[in-house]
Each structure stands twice: as structure tokens, then as C-alpha cells.
């Protein structure tokens, strides 16, 4: 899936970004006023100098009382502008950080609604960076750059106006000098942007290469491929370094050009100013003040080069965050307008359901079936026959391309998620656990459950012995992703978690594939008794499940080719009989 909005214009990106986090603009007028006042403080120095030179130092002896008053007045103004600066900063930090927190939260919530998360495990790292690193990129700009742009533009305007007031001829000289910059800067920006794009790509490659040496540590050691991995890391690190260096060179070259042009302007002002002064059109104080004003005029331009880099980064970051936020959720919660169904026996029907991934061939063709309440259904078929797609459609992790999935007669798309998730729960093959204790992980299924509830559930599932064998029982920490437990043990916990959630329909997708046969059988029997009166759908390679089921659905090439109880199917010639034969030869002693 492609994230949309990658190509949105910078202005449109900003507008959309601000709309998503209204906190950014809360109280902005006051903050801006404070910013203007704080900036005005910078004008004090040139004005003070002009006043002192022209009025205080005009005569043979300096007008000391005037100078003293002027200086004191200016000092007060400096303090006041510092106070304004403080207030402005605090307001700005508060509004931007609140806006960014909102953006992070919205992004996080939205990502959970994207099917890409469950379908493309490789992209998860990239999604995390969109709501963390990319948001951070915005923050630098919002707290420093964005304001700097406003202040700089203000400073540029005020300096320009003052320059024009002091001497329009000299102001003209300065502007003429800076006209070429107006053409050069956008070009520089393009170079910088291009260089940074490469840096970002290389950063990604470098992180991927480094992560391989950590995530793949087992395989790398098992196959003695340390040198190969080291070589790949070296290449990626070096490519990253040279991209960074290249970007730095471009910036180093373009940055001082403003200052250089500024020096030419100063020289020009000195020449023209003297000529004007000789002509009697300018006082020396005004000329000197003008020279100070030029520094006020140059510094925002100089800053602009830096700020524009920040802006590039921020817009890029924002684009990526918006790319996530504006990707429509392919499976949307109908929310308030949706249907809430009462708990109890559940009927599921597939009505001419077809499914294909975007741009891919159909995975499921025209599947129609009904699962009656209180039945235990086994789903079997070869790898790639459409079993998992069936499960994903039934739990509404995806929507069918054609046809409808009905629960108690209502289209699944109209059912509220809160209702759907409490009625239908799937246990996937990968028993993912959170880095917490065993109890906290099981409680994930029902947050209100007490430790006693959990222990009871474990006992009902026949897992009490296993639980007692653990060093700290329910308080045992399971480690990152549950890696302190074995793969089979993780599946046991995942199953207990789903069982505790107490759904009307429990869907097991290869949920016990890593569990030993004795435990699996025990578990199946326990489930059978405790879920009596509920519906269960089990997808399994191990056909022992099918034997115990009320009904077996046999999938082949995206169609249900056979259905019925095991006893009947096994006697018919067909896919099921073949599957069963190869299973028995694999599973039985004789």
C-alpha cells in the first residue's frame, strides 16, 4: 500500500498539519504580538547609536545627560523585550508541544486502524518512525524555525522600513546587492533538499544494516556470516557518512554567501553614504546607524538559510505523518451509526464472498457458507488455499472484495467494533506477548479480570500444572515479545488471553502449532468443554482437530470444496481424504 499525500505541496501540508493539531494556533495572535515586541528590542541598538552620535556627540563636548537618559531608556526597553521573549517562548513551547502530542496520539491510533500493520510485518519499524522521529523533526521547526521565519520576516521588514527612513538611496543600494540572492537561494535550497533526501535514505539503509546484526544474531552465528554482515554494515555506514558529508559541504558553501553579499552591501553603503554625506543629504549618525541596520537586515537572511533547511525537514516530516493519517482506513469502524448485537449464540454466514489483494489475483472465490450457533468448525486445506484469508474476513481484519460476511444476519461492516471484538476473537499463530508479567498479558483479554479469574481460567484450560512450574507463577515476566518463554508456551498464554476475553466465537488460526501433542490434546479437550454452547472455528494443520469438530470446511484454491463431518468426508474420495491420509501417515505410530 502506498501512503498518500507524499506529493502534497509544502503550503497544503502545513495547512493540513495545522488543521489536525489545532493546539498549534491556540493563542497565536498573542504569541505573535509578543514576538514582534521581542524583535523590536533588537532595533534599540542602531537607534541608540544614531541618537547618541547625532545628538549626544554633535557638539565639541558630548551631551552627557542626554546620553545617560537615552541609554537608560534603551536598557529598560531591552529588559522589556527580554520579558516578552520569555513569555513568547513559553507560550510557543506549550502550544507546539501540545499540538505534537496530539499529532502523535492521532497518528498512533490511526496506524492501528491500518491493515498494513497486520499484513506487512516488515513495515512496522517505518510506521513507528512516522509518529516519533518524523514528529520530532516538526518540533525543531515549530519551536525555533517557524518563529524565526516570522521574526526574520518582521525584522527584515522593519529594518527595511527604517533603512528607507534613514536614507532611501542607501536602502536601494542594499536591496540591489541582495536581489541576486533572491534567485540563488531557491536553487541552494533545492541542492540542500536533494542532499538531505539522500541522507535520509542512507540513514534508513544504515539502520537496517545495523539492525540485521542484532535481530539476526542467531542466524549470523549459526552460519558464520559475521564477516559478510560486517561488510554490509560498513558499506551502509560509509554511504551514510559520505551522504552526510556531501550535504554538509553544500551547506558550508552556501551559508556564508549571504554574509559575503552583506559585506559588499556595507562597502557600497560606505561609498554611497559618504558621497551623499558630502552632498549634505545624510548625517554621519544616520550613516553609522545604517551600517548597524544592515547587520539587522543580514542576520535574518543568514538565518533563513538554516531555517529553510529546518522547514524542509519539518515539511518532509509532516508529509510522512500526514501520509499515515490521510491513508483511509480500509476497514473502518462504523462507530455510533453501527449496529450493536446482543451477546449470545452467534450465527456467521458468508454470502458469495470473494477477496483479492489490490492488484493481485483472487484469493477467495465466491464462498458461501453458514456456521450455525454452538458448532465447532474445523478449517483445513493446503498452504495458500485461503484459510487465513477466511479467518481475516471473519474477524474483519479485512473486508471482502465482493459479497458479504453476515453475523446474526447483519453485515459485518455495519457492526460496531466494540460489539464485534467482544463477540469474535481470533488467536493468531504468533503468540505475541507484551513485555510485562504473565498475569498482565492474560489480563489483556479482559482488563477487569482479577488474579483469581486468571488462575481459574488457566485451571479450566488444564494449564494449572504448567503455571505452577513457572518460577514466579503469574508474576513471571515474559520478556520482550514474550521471548523468555518458548514458542509453545507463548501460544498457551495467547490462548488463555483469548479465552479470558470470553467471546461468542473463538477463532484459532494455527494457535497451538508449537505446542506438544499431549498438551494440545488436553487443551483441545478443555476448550471443548468450556466453550460448549459457543461457536469455535479452528484452522489447523493437525487434523486431530478436524476429527473432533462438528463440521469440517475444506479449502482448495480459494474455494470451499468439501464440507461436512469428518466421518463422512474421510470416506469420500477428495481433497480431505488425501489430506487425512498424509496426516495419519505423519502422525501415527504405525
Amino acid at each position: 500500500m502506498t501512503m498518500q499525500a507524499e506529493e502534497r505541496s509544502a503550503v497544503a501540508t502545513l495547512r493540513r498539519g495545522l488543521a489536525l493539531s489545532p493546539e498549534f494556533v491556540v493563542g497565536l495572535p498573542v504569541t505573535l504580538t509578543l514576538a514582534v515586541l521581542a524583535t523590536l528590542g533588537r532595533l534599540i541598538v542602531p537607534i541608540a547609536i544614531q541618537q547618541v552620535i547625532d545628538r549626544g556627540l554633535r557638539g565639541a563636548a558630548p551631551d552627557l545627560p542626554f546620553i545617560r537618559n537615552a541609554v537608560l531608556l534603551c536598557a529598560v526597553a531591552v529588559v522589556l523585550s527580554a520579558v516578552c521573549g520569555y513569555l513568547m517562548n513559553v507560550r510557543l513551547y506549550r502550544s507546539t508541544e501540545s499540538g505534537l502530542a496530539t499529532l502523535r496520539g492521532k497518528g498512533f491510533r490511526h496506524v492501528h486502524d491500518l491493515s498494513v500493520l497486520t499484513q506487512n510485518t516488515e513495515r512496522r519499524g517505518a510506521l513507528v518512525s512516522r509518529i516519533t522521529g518524523d514528529v520530532d523533526q516538526i518540533s525543531t521547526f515549530m519551536q525555533w524555525g517557524g518563529l524565526m521565519i516570522i521574526i526574520s520576516v518582521g525584522q527584515l521588514l522593519i529594518a527595511s522600513v527604517l533603512m528607507a527612513v534613514y536614507s532611501w538611496q542607501l536602502a536601494l543600494v542594499v536591496w540591489v546587492c541582495f536581489v541576486p540572492m533572491a534567485f540563488a537561494v531557491p536553487r541552494f535550497q533545492r541542492w540542500v533538499a536533494k542532499a538531505y533526501t539522500i541522507v535520509r535514505e542512507r540513514t534508513g539503509d544504515m539502520l537496517a544494516a545495523v539492525s540485521e546484526s542484532v535481530v539476526g544474531s542467531t542466524v549470523i552465528r549459526a552460519y558464520g556470516s559475521e564477516e559478510r554482515t560486517a561488510r554490509r554494515v560498513d558499506e551502509a555506514v560509509d554511504a551514510h557518512r559520505s551522504a552526510q558529508t556531501r550535504a554538509q559541504k553544500i551547506i558550508a558553501f552556501t551559508f556564508p554567501i549571504t554574509e559575503l553579499v552583506g559585506a559588499v552591501a556595507i562597502a557600497g553603503v560606505v561609498l554611497v553614504g559618504v558621497w551623499l554625506g558630502v552632498d549634505g543629504q545624510l548625517t554621519p549618525g544616520r550613516l553609522v546607524a545604517f551600517l548597524f541596520l544592515i547587520t539587522l537586515f543580514i542576520s535574518p537572511l543568514q538565518l533563513a538559510t538554516e531555517v529553510l533547511n529546518d522547514a524542509q525537514n519539518a515539511v518532509a516530516g509532516w508529509r510522512r505523518v500526514l501520509g499515515v493519517l490521510d491513508t483511509p482506513t480500509d476497514v473502518a469502524d462504523p462507530g455510533e451509526s453501527g449496529v450493536t448485537l446482543p451477546r449470545g449464540p452467534i450465527t456467521v454466514a458468508f454470502d458469495r464472498v470473494g477477496f483479492s489483494y489490490p492488484g493481485g489475483p483472487p484469493v477467495l472465490h465466491d464462498v458461501s457458507l453458514e456456521i450455525a450457533p454452538r458448532t465447532r468448525v474445523a478449517v483445513v486445506g493446503e498452504t495458500g488455499s485461503g484459510k487465513t484469508t477466511f479467518a481475516k474476513l471473519l474477524t474483519r481484519l479485512m473486508d471482502p472484495t465482493s459479497g458479504r460476511v453476515l453475523v446474526d444476519g447483519a453485515d459485518l461492516r455495519r457492526l460496531r467494533f466494540s460489539s464485534l471484538r467482544s463477540r469474535i476473537v481470533m488467536v493468531p499463530q504468533d503468540g505475541f506477548l507484551f513485555d510485562a508479567t504473565l498475569a498482565e498479558n492474560i489480563r489483556f483479554g479482559r482488563p477487569t479480570a482479577t488474579d483469581d479469574d486468571i488462575t481459574l481460567a488457566m485451571t479450566e484450560l488444564g494449564l494449572a500444572d504448567w503455571l505452577q512450574g513457572l518460577p514466579a507463577g503469574l508474576a513471571t515476566p515474559v520478556g520482550q515479545r514474550g521471548e523468555s518463554l518458548s514458542a509453545g508456551e507463548r501460544q498457551l498464554v495467547a490462548l488463555a488471553r483469548a479465552y479470558l476475553a470470553d467471546p461468542d466465537l473463538l477463532l484459532l488460526d494455527e494457535a497451538t502449532s508449537a505446542v506438544d501433542p499431549a498438551t494440545e490434546v488436553r487443551l483441545a479437550r478443555a476448550l471443548e468443554s468450556v466453550t460448549r454452547g459457543r461457536t469455535s472455528v479452528t484452522i489447523a494443520h493437525r487434523l486431530s482437530t478436524a476429527e473432533a469438530a462438528d463440521e469440517v470446511l475444506v479449502f482448495e484454491h480459494g474455494r470451499v470444496v468439501q464440507r461436512g463431518p469428518h466421518d463422512r468426508l474421510v470416506r469420500q474420495e477428495g481433497v480431505y481424504a488425501d489430506l487425512y491420509a498424509s496426516w495419519t501417515s505423519a502422525a501415527h505410530t504405525s
Partner: protein
């Protein structure tokens, strides 16, 4: 905790130590950058001098006399531009060299850290969370060398300040006094600023990492979150942490908001003081008005660069923390020691496991006193209930971890005596969790055969055929050259497992260890794989962790584990006969079926 921190040298000293390390590593680049920065610093001061000179010698006389001398004016203009050119050159060189230094140090640290990751034993990896190791190599390295970017500038600023002080001193000692009061005040303010700021910045940094951790974990567990309908609860959990980050950042903003205007205001106050004091001096005839302008201009010029000192100081605490974390990796010991022995010979290797004990923590052993043999060319199945230590055993067999006690011998040689690379050349493990590199299919298969001759495509295809993976690989858009992973094809669990299997088979290992390596493959495909292995496995000794009877039936011998101990060991039939636990485990399905059949009969007869 706090007393421990008190005994540590101050952050400042430690930070200087970190910078010192960088300077020692890149002395030439650093010297170049500092020289360039000194040029920049001197020229900044010189530019005010140039302006002062121009005012004194060209502007004011011209105004006084009502006419201008072209020669003096041109000299003044050239003077101003010339100084600016030198200054710009200094900036360019400084920035470029500072960048080169910073990025070289980053690259160097990243390479060194990754080398450690590759060198340190798996047991070490078990103790360190993945996320932490990744941030060690990325953000910690970045933080460690962040002060290097503004460092030359800061050194240049020091040069600038000294030059400025001298310049002012030359103009007028009384005005210099003003400067000597203002400059240290700026420095002191900077110091206080950083003292106040650094704990807050570190706290924010920590929270930033925690926010990212929650996102990682929650997205990783997306299927669980979604299927249990816990998205909103997860969003709340994330939001709570994001709000703590927000508050921490606002705290940082408060300090910044206070000190930034102060740091900006101080030089302005300096200019005003210069004007006040200067006009007194002017009245006394001690300075000229040109000199006064020059000093005042100097103060405005210095206002901005002086803050570079603050930037370096600001980066120091983070840098120290980052570097400390990087050093912890670089100094980590406990590397695996290798011997000199070679596993010579061809064909299957004999395995002897003798009294192996292992525990991730000392109080909870996973394996205790495990002993068994796998004679050359034989197939041994390791069977046991969930959590009995089977996977740990497979890791010990290929020396990914060393046992706490006991030993593993290949052809009579202790694994610990085998030369580096010797074990992996002879033995291949297919772990339970499939890991594929973000690379092509071919590279993923030939990954272990790096040091040997290039593996021919025929051998790759042969391995793929044996792993029942040739079908889907040939259907991939670029066949063997198709990329897998983030920017490539997405494969199903079963397909990934089969590639991992082919990777093990392509090296024609003398010992092949399969840790439940076909769990995502259905029975028919698994059957074909196993038949292929049996027909072609006379070259290998095979140790296989399995539950399925077909796999076990393939084995000459079975090792039955319970709670990390070998309960029984022998041919399948024998164990079936004499070992209750084993029988219960492997015949579970059959008994289940029989029980059901009996039940059905009862129902019929009833």
C-alpha cells in the same frame, strides 16, 4: 545512587574527555577546523575594525570636510570586502571540516559497535533488549558526537573573544573593562543555563525513547490488539506517555525561553554600557568617536557567535550519556573463546553430548545433566513437552551458547576447542523462528558460504528443491534475484521457513539441526521435505526437534526430555514401550481419536 553520581567526575569534565577522544582520533581534521574557525573569529573582529577604520578615516573626515578622497574610500571598501571574503572562507572550511570530523567519528563508532554485536556471544544478546542495542548504534552514537559540530565554532569564538578583548584593550582600557565584565557574564550565564537545562533534556530524551518503545511494541502486537479490540486502550497508554513527553518538553522550553532572551539581551546591554562609558571617555578626549563605534559594533557582532559556546555545553550532557552507553558496548567482554582444532574429514559427524547444564538465570536451569550420542549419519529426534528446553539444546549443539557445565563433542573434539568458523562450517541449525536478511533470495540462501567459493545456481536450486521451495521461488518476479523484506517481496510463514531450510541445506552440512523447522508447512509439503532429506541425508547427521510422528519415525533414535532432563533415550519403538511420558506425548492424537471412536460406538450401541 546519588552518592555514586557525586563521586563521578562532573559532566563537564567527562564531556571534555569525550571531546578529547575525538580530537585525538582526528587530530588533523580538528586542527584544520580550529584554524579555519580562528580565521573566522579573527576576521569577525577585524570586520568591526575595518568598519571603525572606515568611519574614522573615510566617513567622518568626509562629512567634516565636505569632500571625499576616492583613494581612502576605495581602500575602506576593499578592506571591508576583503575581510568578509576571508571570513566566509573560514566559515566554509570550518563547517566542512567540522562535518567531516563529526561524521567520521559517527561512522567509526557505528562500525565498532556493530563489530561488537557480531563478536559478542549470543548469551550476551539474550541479556540485552533489541531496541536498546539499536539505539546504542544510532541515537547514542549521534548524541556522543553531537558536540563536534559546534565545537570548532566554539573554539573560534574563544579566539574571537580574546582578539576582541585585545582589540578593545588597544582602543581604550576603560572600555575594555566593560567588555571584561560582559563577556564573563555571558559565559557564566551559559554555564548556569546548561546546568539547569541538562537534567530536563535528559529526562525528555528518556521519555522520547519510551514513547517509541510503546509504539514499537504496540505495532508489533497489532494483531493481538486488534483481535481483542484493545486499540483504544493502547491509544490511551500511548497518549499518557506522549503527554509526559509533552510536559517534559515544555519544561525544557521554559528554561530555554528564560535564558535565550537573557543571552541575547546581555550583549545589547554591553553596547549600551559602551555608549555610556564611551561618551564619558569621549568627553574626556580619551577615545575617538570611530573607536567608540568600532567597540559598539564589535559587541553586536559577538552577540550571536558567543552562543556557540552554549551549544557545545548544551550537547555535553547528552554526549556524555551517549558515549557512556557506546563505551559499555565497546568494553563488553565475555566474547566466545575459540580453539585451534579443525573438524577435518568429510561426511557426517558424530555428536556426543556430555552432562550439559544450562540456565538463563542460575536459579532456574533450563537443561540439567543432558547426555546423549548421535553417531555419524544417524538421525536423532529430540522430543519433549512444551518448554522442556529443546530449543536451548539446539543452540548449544552449534555453540551459539556455551553450556554452564558439561560439553558437546563433534567427532570427539570439544566444540570450545574448534577454531572460529569451524562449527558453523560443519553444522547448520534451522531455528524455530525464521530470520531472513533484507536481501535477495540468492544471498539469503548462500549466506553461510561466504568464505568459500561462490555457490553455483545449480546448488542453490538443488537446495530449494529439497526444501520444496523451488516452486514459489521460480514464480517470484526476479527468481533468485528477488529482494525479500522491507523493500521486496512479502512471503508467507511457510515460504520463509522453506527458504531458511534451503539455507541450511545448500552448505551440505555434516550436522543438520532442525528446531521445529517445518511448523508453518503443512503435512503434505513436510512429508515431501522429509522424504527428500532421508533419501539424500547420508552425508549428514541430523538432529531434529519434532512432535510429528512422521518426523520422529524417520529418526534412528529418540531423546526424550522433560523439564530439561533426559528422561529416556533409545529407538522410538523401545521408548514407546517403556517410557510413559513419551508414549503419552507422541500417541496423544491417536488416543484422542480412539477415545472419540469408542465414545461414538457407545452412542451407537446406547
Amino acid at each position: 545512587m546519588s552518592s555514586e553520581r557525586d563521586r563521578q567526575p562532573s559532566v563537564m569534565l567527562q564531556g571534555i574527555g569525550v571531546i578529547g577522544h575525538a580530537v585525538k582520533t582526528e587530530p588533523h581534521v580538528f586542527t584544520g577546523a580550529v584554524l579555519a574557525s580562528a580565521l573566522y573569529g579573527t576576521m569577525t573582529v577585524a570586520s568591526s575594525w575595518a568598519l571603525g577604520w572606515a568611519t574614522e578615516n573615510a566617513v567622518l573626515p568626509a562629512f567634516r570636510e565636505g569632500r571625499a578622497t576616492t583613494a581612502t574610500l576605495l581602500t575602506a571598501a576593499l578592506f571591508i570586502v576583503g575581510v568578509a571574503v576571508l571570513k566566509a572562507g573560514g566559515v566554509m572550511a570550518r563547517r566542512t571540516l567540522a562535518g567531516i570530523m563529526q561524521y567520521r567519528m559517527q561512522a567509526r563508532s557505528r562500525r565498532a559497535v556493530t563489530r561488537q554485536y557480531l563478536r559478542l556471544p549470543l548469551a550476551w544478546h539474550h541479556r540485552h533488549p533489541t531496541g536498546q542495542l539499536l539505539s546504542n548504534a544510532s541515537s547514542d552514537v549521534e548524541a556522543a558526537w553531537a558536540p563536534l559540530a559546534p565545537l570548532p565554532m566554539a573554539v573560534g569564538v574563544v579566539v574571537m573573544l580574546v582578539t576582541a578583548a585585545v582589540a578593545i584593550l588597544l582602543v581604550d582600557p576603560v572600555l575594555a573593562l566593560v567588555g571584561f565584565l560582559i563577556f564573563p557574564a555571558i559565559a557564566a550565564l551559559n554555564l548556569i543555563y546548561q546546568r539547569r537545562l541538562s537534567p530536563l533534556v535528559m529526562k525528555a530524551q528518556q521519555l522520547r525513547a519510551e514513547v517509541s518503545e510503546i509504539a514499537h511494541e504496540s505495532f508489533d502486537g497489532a494483531l493481538v490488539v486488534k483481535t481483542l479490540g484493545r486499540e483504544d486502550a493502547e491509544a490511551l497508554r500511548f497518549q499518557a506517555k506522549a503527554e509526559r513527553l509533552r510536559d517534559a518538553n515544555i519544561g525544557v522550553g521554559r528554561i530555554r525561553g528564560l535564558f535565550d532572551p537573557l543571552l541575547e539581551g546581555l550583549p545589547t546591554i554591553g553596547v549600551l554600557a559602551v555608549l555610556l562609558v564611551g561618551s564619558l571617555r569621549l568627553a574626556g578626549g580619551d577615545v575617538t568617536s570611530g573607536a567608540l563605534i568600532q567597540v559598539a559594533y564589535l559587541f553586536t557582532l559577538l552577540a550571536f557567535p558567543v552562543r556557540a559556546l552554549g551549544w557545545v555545553l548544551a550537547e555535553l550532557p547528552r554526549s556524555v550519556v551517549g558515549w557512556t552507553r557506546v563505551r559499555e558496548i565497546l568494553d563488553a567482554t565475555g566474547s566466545m573463546e575459540f580453539g585451534q582444532a579443525r573438524l577435518s574429514g568429510d561426511g557426517p559427524v558424530g555428536v556426543e553430548v556430555r552432562g550439559v547444564r544450562y540456565g538463563y538465570t542460575p536459579e532456574a536451569p533450563v537443561l540439567s545433566d543432558v547426555s546423549f550420542d548421535a553417531p555419524p549419519g544417524r538421525t536423532v529426534a529430540v522430543v519433549g513437552p512444551t518448554g522442556s528446553g529443546k530449543s536451548t539444546l539446539t543452540q548449544i549443539l552449534v555453540r551459539l551458547v556455551d553450556p554452564d557445565d558439561g560439553r558437546v563433542l563433534l567427532d570427539g573434539t570439544d566444540l570450545r576447542e574448534v577454531a572460529k568458523g569451524g562449527v558453523s562450517a560443519a553444522a547448520s541449525l534451522v531455528p524455530q523462528q525464521t530470520f531472513l536478511f533484507d536481501d535477495t533470495v540468492r544471498a539469503n540462501i548462500t549466506v553461510g558460504n561466504d568464505r568459500h567459493e561462490a555457490v553455483s545456481d545449480e546448488r542453490v536450486w538443488a537446495a530449494l528443491r529439497l526444501a520444496q521451495a523451488d516452486g514459489f521461488v521460480s514464480a517470484l518476479p526476479d527468481g533468485l534475484d528477488t529482494r525479500i523484506g522491507e523493500r521486496g517481496a512479502t512471503l508467507s510463514g511457510g515460504q520463509r521457513q522453506r527458504l531458511a531450510l534451503a539455507r541450511a541445506l545448500v552448505g551440505r552440512p555434516r550436522l543438520l539441526i532442525l528446531d521445529d523447522a517445518t511448523s508453518s508447512v503443512d503435512a503434505q509439503v513436510e512429508g515431501r521435505i522429509l522424504r527428500g532429506l532421508r533419501d539424500g541425508s547420508s552425508d549428514s547427521t541430523v538432529i531434529v526437534v519434532a512432535y510429528r510422528m512422521a518426523t520422529i519415525a524417520l529418526a534412528d533414535d529418540v531423546v526424550y526430555l522433560e523439564h530439561g532432563r533426559v528422561v529416556d533415550h533409545g529407538p522410538h519403538e523401545l521408548l514407546l514401550d517403556r517410557c510413559q511420558g513419551y508414549r503419552d506425548l507422541v500417541t496423544a492424537y491417536e488416543r484422542e481419536e480412539a477415545g472419540r471412536a469408542a465414545l461414538a460406538d457407545e452412542e451407537i450401541s446406547a
